[in-house]
Symmetry: C2
Subunit: 161 residues, 2 copies
């Protein structure tokens, strides 16, 4: 077991950035379907950044307080929208990393009740790469976000073998 | 501002999965250089999963307590090692998502002192896609992990415009 270098005190795994074609579709998915809050937005000439994260305060935090956690908390998803892709018929879409050339695999959401969570996603029309009933691992599903990124859904009380 | 669906209560943005060629190099980077703890490992026939995260307890948590947070916390990096890639001369390496076909962009680490953090990374021989002094954004750097994934390094007290 390694000893943490003291110089890294205070470091946070703050966010994961994914490019998205159409922010309207992505914000609907991450907010209304997955339940994240939009805690900050950064508009630039050619692109806009959307920062989303779960509120663990049971609704006690104000929008300003959520925004203030932008650089101090973990578990943020940063969506980058390069302006115009949503209207560009020649835009081929983004690469989810799970076909060649591979690299990034997925982000994962842990949930209290994976059966209920996946049933709700299905009822909302979310497509799946792997449903709970597919394959050997019956406790894990992979939903697809609007760009085709894999979103693992798994129980928060899962025990690794 | 959207209202969070009550069905999503308890959800966590638990982890981000990246495939890595050589776990020895990656574990050195994420543990010894970035300062994360290896909180869990899952060995399988063809692949091994390594779960890394920052300990925010000031060293109070035991390894068992860290492992117990595996599915309840946020900010975990899951590294997937498909066995054999580290010795395969024909393995081309993984795709970092920032050249065509694009998609995933980076993970980001927020730090108390970005100048000190980047100076330390440089002194340890970590290559950079963008140093603090490159380009217009002097407060943000992008280091490269052993597979070439972009690791954004930015201050935890940064103010978005």
């Amino acid at each position: 077991m390694s000893v943490r270098p003291p110089e890294t005190h205070g470091y946070r795994m703050n966010h994961t950035m994914l490019r998205v074609k159409d922010p309207k579709a992505s914000l609907h998915f991450y907010q209304e379907i997955l339940g994240m809050d939009l805690i900050a937005t950064s508009e630039n000439t050619d692109f806009t950044l959307y920062f989303l994260a779960y509120d663990h305060s049971e609704g006690k935090l104000t929008q300003e307080e959520k925004a203030a956690q932008r650089f101090t908390r973990e578990g943020i998803v940063e969506l980058t929208h390069n302006h115009g892709t949503e209207h560009d018929a020649n835009f081929a879409g983004y690469h989810n990393g799970n076909k060649d050339p591979r690299g990034f695999g997925h982000i994962a959401i842990t949930v209290p009740d994976v059966q209920a969570a996946c049933a709700r996603l299905e009822s909302l029309g979310v497509p799946f790469q792997k449903k709970l009933t597919d394959g050997k691992m019956k406790h894990i599903a992979f939903a697809l976000d609007p760009d085709g990124y894999w979103i693992e859904i798994l129980p928060n009380n899962f025990k690794l073998n």
